[in-house]
Symmetry: C2
Subunit: 296 residues, 2 copies
DNA sequence: TGTTCGAGATAGATAAATGCTATCAGTTAC
DNA sequence: GTAACTGATAGCATTTATCTATCTCGAACA
């Protein structure tokens, strides 16, 4: 248990700086006795005098005092830095990414981070994510805004459109984009991964459309394989990049153009959590969307 | 002006360590409200919460809190070190050596110092030395104890015998040592450098002897030259090493054997000065007399 | 050699802080 | 729903810091 106070150190340094107790007291806007007593207490705790009190001349630090005062000044400076908020040791920011988004987002995101911004990424399910946010195990979460509790604040970082996935010879593949109305006319393939089937269905229902769900697949990759093989048109928020499915068949993706069909991608923070400087920096970087997020 | 207190930091660190306000209060032997209030004040000053207060579970630091607490702990540790007396920045020890002693002592002394003991040597006259000690401009002084004021403490480091200096064919040169009584019978050569002529005369007077001072020289080297050329026997505390004088004539030195003729060489410190750790170390080294002092 | 002057130390009073007891409020666990 | 526990709040007591007034002690000056 330390018995010294920062005030005592400040006073002692002021005495050295001002060359005397009286002058220092004036500079500090306190009375001379207050400073005299404080200095005496500090010296008593140290067991050695810090200054040679010589009438007339300036108060000269003792040999011990010179070392001590220099160190004290350094201490005070770093203490001031600490209180100013820029604590030197930057613990890694713990960033959670919703598991369905992670394969698309996390790689480019981590690759784009500056070297001096340590991040511990985690890929979590929705429940684990909200739980971790509440428990303070996660600093930032990047996810769809699906039923996040009120105790977390959200900032929309991007709005991601759903994409239709199909073989290159599908008739809708000729178009630059498709509409929900057009999709309602074709057999759809939905994956149980990612945003729920119910979510997709609601998208159509808001426009009075009734989609025909021909297949429900367990994984997104299976959905892409089905679509590539002409079993219907896949629908997905993630994986908008064309190419081919795992079985080698070619695939194209076409954005759904309907206004309001975009799903907001949010950066979530627990409301009563306070981000570290590094955390704030990461949040700003993500909000600035430096190319690692899927294009809306 | 810092408004944070070390106590607040200690409390905050304790909360983190003990996983909660109540547990930390017990560990610190203070009441829970006292700790709660102190923590709130600290958080108010920071403008951000340090902990997520979640009932039941352990108090988890916020992301900001993690960085802050780690830095605070580091700060507290170095503050404790500061108060323990081992301040890191070791200012050079300012060592003054009496000007007549310096040519004999200072070189070997500095050469024998360890590399991590910074010393700023100064060669001063007696008055400048006592003055500097009093003003705190000098930490340690190595000198004869000739009228040092009461305000300096002295520690005898060595007792240096006077030496007779003569040519190798002088009859006293046959002896291993000489006595003051013998010296009283031969023409003496005294230098105005070093201990005063009055001091030498007093040495004889205490034994009821009246020395015959044939020559007084301005410098020690001139005295050695006179002695080498047979003009008398030199008497000196310093330069006991034989060899030859500047003019090339051979010289021998013979110690004065009389008990009580030794002159104490003292290490002086201003009484109200406090040595730095480095200063203490230098003082111990000098007191241990590691070969850089003239043999008694 | 006394006198004056100024810097720091001391004493007593007052204000501010720190801490304690008692109590309240909000959650979790049963 | 209730018990149990954690942290927050309120009011009071104690300690600590600071103030004004005064004292002491050297040094500078005549």
């Amino acid at each position: 248990m330390l018995s010294v106070t920062l005030r005592q150190l400040e006073y002692a340094v002021a005495v050295a700086r001002n060359g005397g107790v009286t002058a220092a007291a004036q500079a500090l806007n306190i009375s001379q006795p207050a400073l005299s007593v404080a200095l005496s207490q500090l010296e008593a705790q140290l067991g050695k005098p810090l200054f040679l009190r010589r009438p007339r001349g300036p108060a000269v630090p003792t040999a011990f005092g010179r070392d001590f005062l220099e160190a004290a000044e350094t201490q005070l400076a770093s203490m001031a830095r600490l209180m100013a908020g820029d604590a030197a040791p930057a613990a890694p920011v713990r960033l959670a990414v919703f598991e369905d988004l992670a394969p698309v987002i996390l790689g480019p995101l981590l690759a784009a981070l500056p070297a001096d911004l340590p991040v511990t990424p985690g890929v979590l399910g929705f429940e684990a994510m909200t739980d971790g946010l509440g428990r303070g195990q996660i600093d930032l979460a990047l996810t769809w805004d699906l039923g996040l509790p009120l105790s977390v604040t959200r900032e929309e970082v991007a709005r991601v459109k759903p994409h239709a996935v199909m073989g290159p010879r599908h008739r809708l593949a000729l178009r630059a984009g498709v509409s929900l109305a057009e999709l309602a006319d074709v057999p759809l393939i939905l994956a149980d991964q990612g945003l729920s089937v119910g979510h997709m269905r609601a998208l159509f229902a808001r426009r009075g459309l009734a989609p025909r769900i021909a297949h429900r697949t367990a994984t997104l990759e299976l959905m892409r394989s089905f679509a590539a093989n002409g079993l219907g048109v896949g629908l997905s928020y993630t994986a908008p990049v064309p190419g081919q499915s795992y079985d080698g068949a070619a695939l194209v993706t076409r954005p759904v153009l309907d206004a309001g069909a975009g799903e907001p991608l949010v950066l979530a923070v627990a409301r009563d959590n306070a981000l570290s400087p590094a955390g704030e920096r990461l949040a700003r970087l993500i909000a600035a969307r430096r190319g690692f997020l899927p294009k809306g």
